[in-house]
Symmetry: C4
Subunit: 315 residues, 4 copies
């Protein structure tokens, strides 16, 4: 049982930046979507707002809904102003009931803010003329803002990595290996790909978390075009040598994965993170083949099989 060597684990825990005491034994450090399990408080509301980040990272549905709501309420406010300007201030608004007059104000507002300006309704007083100028100006600026945000949303780096649901401990050469498999499901080209894997566990005697880098069979490839099975050989130098699934659970083990590549399609460096906790590691399994031969000179990868495994006797 190698868990608990003090010096090295301690050093690397600091390098990773998680600290050793702040995380309880039952804490997952990295969420499956690559997020960090950290909650920051103590900022004033406006400091914590990070509006830009929210607008850029919210789902498209929410974004469209938000923009539509802003559009609706902006129209409502201007409609009320036009309405209170009194009857006759909008030429072409013939409604006599209060509702009809308000609706005409609202329609005039929508035609102004979008700059469609049919003209069947048109300003008929100085107040409404000035207000309409302001509204159309604000409309244009607002849509300019929406355009800018849309492009900012588009230009965010996107990663479409699919990871195997589980890591496995499988026979590897004449020993065993800890493995996981992943691939890029997007159509962008990832090159100069690097992977770094850390083991994190709770030291029962010292009552704090330790971290250790795992040696990999291969940590860098030039073209990440197919799938990649990352292998940590469990040799005599491995902290996993001699460990059992039960001990891993007792030590609240977590395998942390750092991924780095250059996205050739969008010319930028992308990073990704993932982790497997002890219950997500399957012992005595191996991944099923993912390549299919069709004799057409092309390589076929079936991404549906990325996480599929079958039982295999360990060495």
């Amino acid at each position: 049982m190698k868990f608990g060597r003090k010096s090295k684990g301690n050093k690397e825990s600091r390098e990773l930046g998680f600290g050793t005491k702040s995380y309880g034994p039952n804490t997952r450090l990295i969420a499956r979507d690559g997020g960090f399990n950290v909650n920051k408080t103590g900022l004033k509301f406006w400091q914590s707002l990070d509006t830009y980040h929210e607008l850029i990272s919210m789902k498209w549905g929410s974004f469209i809904l938000l923009v539509s709501s802003v559009f609706f309420f902006a129209n409502l406010i201007f409609a009320l102003l036009y309405f209170f300007a009194g009857s006759g201030s909008i030429a072409g608004a013939h409604g006599s009931s209060v509702l009809d007059r308000f609706l005409d104000s609202f329609y005039f507002s929508t035609q102004t803010i979008t700059t469609v300006g049919f003209g069947q309704l048109s300003p008929n007083s100085n107040f409404v003329s000035v207000l309409a100028a302001i509204e159309s100006f604000m409309g244009l600026l607002g849509f300019a803002l929406a355009t800018g945000l849309m492009f900012a949303r588009f230009s965010r780096p996107r990663k479409r990595l699919v990871y195997s649901e589980n890591a496995i401990v499988a026979p590897y050469r004449d020993i065993n290996g800890l493995m996981f498999r992943f691939a890029n499901s997007g159509k962008n080209h990832l090159i100069e790909t690097e992977v770094d894997v850390f083991l994190s566990y709770w030291n029962l005697e010292e009552d704090r978390r330790f971290f250790e880098r795992l040696k990999l069979e291969r940590s860098k490839i030039n073209f990440f075009t197919t799938s990649w099975t990352v292998v940590h050989p469990i040799d005599n130098d491995s902290p996993l040598q001699g460990m059992t699934p039960e001990e891993c659970a007792n030590h609240h083990m977590e395998v942390i994965i750092m991924f780095k590549a250059f996205d050739d399609t969008y010319a930028r460096t992308v990073y990704d993170r993932n982790s497997y906790i002890h219950s997500e590691i399957k012992w005595g399994q191996k991944f099923v083949p993912i390549f299919t031969e069709k004799g057409d000179g092309q390589i076929h990868i079936d991404l549906e099989k990325i996480g599929q495994y079958e039982s295999a006797a360990l060495n």
Copy 2:
């Protein structure tokens, strides 16, 4: 005959990321446009969609056609809605026949979605007023989207490298060399340029693919302003030493080229790939000069000659 040394080739094949068994002997690994010869399946339709990538990477003609189609069908749908709102709901639509009434609805729709809003046709019912507000709002958002996509298309890194159609084996100093020539045909400045060349071949005995990095006369230059003839000297350390064109064909040889540079004009790192398969390598040829002297103190490169060669006796 040096093809088939196990250790080194094996290691580098893994580094490249192609795997060794998935590619049959007749598979080309890298297409002439730098794409990878890989087909990914097993994703659900919406997972494989990568809409953004499609919209960004499709040809300009297709993009304009797509935007125009969306414009046309959006108008069609709104036109039908206006049409079914009944006659009289659009002021100024005097057509009496069904066709005329539909056309007026369609014209009204186009004038609304583009926000041109002449006003000779204008909303004359609450339903049409509200619908027109929605349509003009959608029109503006749609054109905002198109604007964002257009800029995203513009801002994609573009490489305008022209490679010689063939690699050649030519006399080089007192031995021979494998060479290819390429240049940047764009007006952007490429600097800190690096080239890496790999040899890939099918090992007949082991029935799988091997890879080996080829040593280059020079693998980095500061300014990539003229053309660059990349040379692999076929010395005693070269896997090509003693090989014949026939043996190269038998081993399904492919020369893989990786290119990296910093694009000073657009401030980003660009990568490129290319490959020459055995039938694209001409033996006993040399490239014709590409520089022309005009006595005006300027360097002239004739890119038309980039791939031209003439016969030359090998050493």
Copy 3:
């Protein structure tokens, strides 16, 4: 007293790029917002203008005010041109007083520049028709410019680092250490984080400024997710060994901090700078804990406490 060792300080001062003579003893080198304390003159007005930088970096309030002013004055100019085109040149302008005629010209201008074009006012002469075409074209280009600027403002890298108000000298292991604490208050992910710390002081004998890099307990972490307390151990190699607060003040000491990280959310490298001058360094204090345990398996950081310290006896 170690301040004043010639060779090393001299060398590093040159590396930093501040020069040694240009800064007087009372000059702060780096402002608290990371700016440099340098004033450049001698450029012609148009050379020093850097309009783009101003438009991109001014506050949002100023930007909106500027755009609104441009909008207003552009309208004013066109309104005057329409006004001087004479009565009758705008159809629908029935005002008889000079003021009413000018207001109609102004309203027509706003309806043209925003392309709202109600049509209750419309061109009624060749001069006005041509002018209106130009104005609407300029309006569209102007709003295109505003859109581009808005996105450029959005896409600027933003850093939301919060630093402790003071650096402290606190007990560290069995010696003392110079420490400061900081965190990322934004929702973006910072990874591959590096810190470099320099000591700057005025050499009283040589009458010029010296610089020295301070050795850190740890200068790099992988994930900058929580807070980071950077520690310079004041051991026998430290230039601060044996120094007193008074001597630091006499030497006009300044601690310069350079921060570098990769912003994973926006895919770019970010840098930051900060400094603490002698009066901002508190001796015999230690930072209060910033983590709170809530037993929910999450890490909680209270950023309000980032700069809070309490007294602690020095070793």
Copy 4:
């Protein structure tokens, strides 16, 4: 006289990427604006077009002129189509003369393409209605394109480096040094700044160009906030040791400067190039001081003096 050492110069000439034979003795390799003195031919017209680059890099005046011309000619074409649709096809066009009818068509076109759509002129036939729909659609797409291009122009990296007009040979410590001075006149922050300097000369005996890297007193600084005087000490290892201005002219000497920095304000790496040919190097001069003390605790640099020098006796 050290010019002409074969091995080293030869190697570095290849590294730089200029080649050795293509440049005649009278050729300047790098223009003062950092461009390369290379002319590429042999591309088909459409291959050499690089439209995007032209649109992005042309001056703002040219760009505005181009956009305006496109606007004008697009209007002209549509005006002709409307005109030939016959009288009566545009409602509100009452002109009876051919000129008046054409002008009405032109005004209608401008009101359609900008989507201002006053409505005093409006479509009155199916042909004109459809054409107007197409024109307003094209107008919106065109302005979307212009918006995208404007932002692409904005987001290009811009360097505002001011170099001394001349390099000088000045006394340096107890020997002499080749020096030039430069500064960043922009308001962006440049950090992690590096400079590399090469000497290029024509070897009279071998009749080709040689290149050699010059050793610098300091080649990297952390903050490029003030001015930087780059110094090559002419010691016994320097190829310039013992050279005279006449010999430099005979050898068609050129000093090539490569600059690299990280632009902290726009979060990207920027490069720059410059060169001084023999006639731009002044011997026995030194740069005048550029710093001015104003006692306000700020550093003042007078960029007007960046290239000013005064005579100084050489060692």
